[in-house]
Amino acid sequence: MNQVRLLFKMWSIQVRSQMQYRFSFWMDILSTMVLNGSYFLAIALVLERFENITGWTLGEVAFLAGMSELAFGTMDMLFSGYDPDQFSILVRLGRLDQYLVRPVNINLQLFGSKFMLRRLGRMFEGAAILVISFALTSIHWTLWKVIYLPIVFLSLVLSFGSLFVAGATLIFWTVQPIEAVNILTYGGNETITYPMTIYPDWLRKILTYVIPFIFLNYYPALYFLDKPDPFGMPSFAPFLAPAIAVIMLFLSFRFWNFGLTHYSSTGS
């Protein structure tokens, strides 16, 4: 309980710090909304012309994009302390050492260290696209669907977050951030905004068996939109999202702890 209070105190400090630069704050929110929104606009224009992508209408693709953007924005706000680019700076400037000489769990301090309120821009954008999707499609809402939607959202947030954590862990060895990690995080987010049917077999296999993003957005979408599964997966495939999120989070923090041990034996 004490820990939760401490986290909220750290967040409030972060919010106050960021509000010191009000103009830049609002400009940032606005520009991320416009920038990320324009990507979706591009898809929308293509769909306007061709009606659908491999059987997916604009409203249906909007569901994929909206969920993914909303989740990624939320993750980026909460997990910014683990953003590999930020974390690299933290290590290089020795700030990590300063966190480590305080009697508070290091993960709590990292979660409290960068509460990026300006990521609200991307969250608004994602939410707006999701609302468009709801307007354009006629989802058959059942009680279970209403319950499951936030669970899928949370699973997406945690899965993206675990990629940040794993990427930050690599910094313990490399010090410099590794570009390949961004392919997984930002690229992963980009990839799952489209229906999986557009991808070649090998890429889809990676997204199924290596980094199982297919179960986090595409399969849940099939369930919400009542679309048939073209790949013949078992019928529980849409409901794997929370399990995958938990496993990814568990593995990434195991890796993180291993990296932290390495750091304390080598320094930087």
């Binding site: 004490n2 209070r5 401490l6 105190k9 750290m10 400090i13 106050r16 710090s17 010191q20 630069y21 400037l93 020795g94 700030r95 050492d97 300063q98 480590l100 000489v101 305080r102 009697p103 508070v104 769990n105 304390s264 034996s265 080598t266 320094g267």
Partner: protein
Amino acid sequence: MEPIIRVSNLQKTYRVIERRRGISGAFRNLFAAHFREVRAVDGVSFNIETGEIVGYLGPNGAGKSTTLKILTGLLVPTTGDAAVLGMRPWKERERYVSQIGAVFGQRTTLYWDLPVLDTFEMLQAMYGVPLERYKSNLADFSRILEMDEFIHTPVRSLSLGQRMRADLCAALLHEPRILFLDEPTIGLDVVAKERIRRFIQYVNAQRDMTVLLTTHDLSDVEKLCQRVLILDHGQLLYDGGLGELTERYEADNQLVVTFADDYTDILLDQAVLVRQEDRRAVYRFNSRQVNGSELVKQLLERFHLADFEIQRPQLEDTIRRIYEQRLLLPNGRQHPVASEEASP
């Protein structure tokens, strides 16, 4: 009484990447890195008693920071042992660090965009300092450090000296029993340095706080430390009183003379002529073999003098001589090759 810090045969070995030269070398580094072992700390032992202020000296790369990182729980030693307050710093980090304070030179722990007071309040929550204690500590430190004028100012607009004062206060609000300071006065002007030193003396005297500090500013050492540890190439060269150090190792005094006339032959038997510019000459002599007043007498017999002055060496020169000439090799051991830089 049990020493508050006990370090025995501490050793820390790093593997550093040996870089190849040139473009093709850099390319090969990407695939197969060559590692070389560097002993940053090489068998260091010392004890520190409660209430001491000890200066930890040594040239860059001597292993000071590595030792400090081990003692603050950031690094695990390769071999050897350290017990601080009866704990192994790297073993029970969170419990241990609540009882120490650390300030690392120019790196600030303060929230950059917010008033100093916000950081203090955050630390109060983090360390779980009882509110009453926090308030009385803050009032006390704030008075000695004269922080009232800037406690509500955002950190980004503070001067370096003000920031350092606030950082010191931040490290002490939870009443640690030991304070580790890494270059506490670096980059400060004379007045600011003096303030910091007075404060360190104050907490040492009033709160019986033990202080271990590294510094390159030897006036810090002269004003604060009764005892110094001198480290070079990871090995402890000297552990003892400051007075004893200067007594034993400051040998070469300088005699600066201004002649009243032009002389050609001004060489002396017992002193080395270092410089001569016009009528001004600088001699160097060993104060343990040659009596300074004897030299002056000889000069007065031979020449007309306008002025003369005997200069005792600065502590800085003494220490430099100790490093350069390796005056204090431990157990008469020979050092590893001097060109090895031990700073990963």
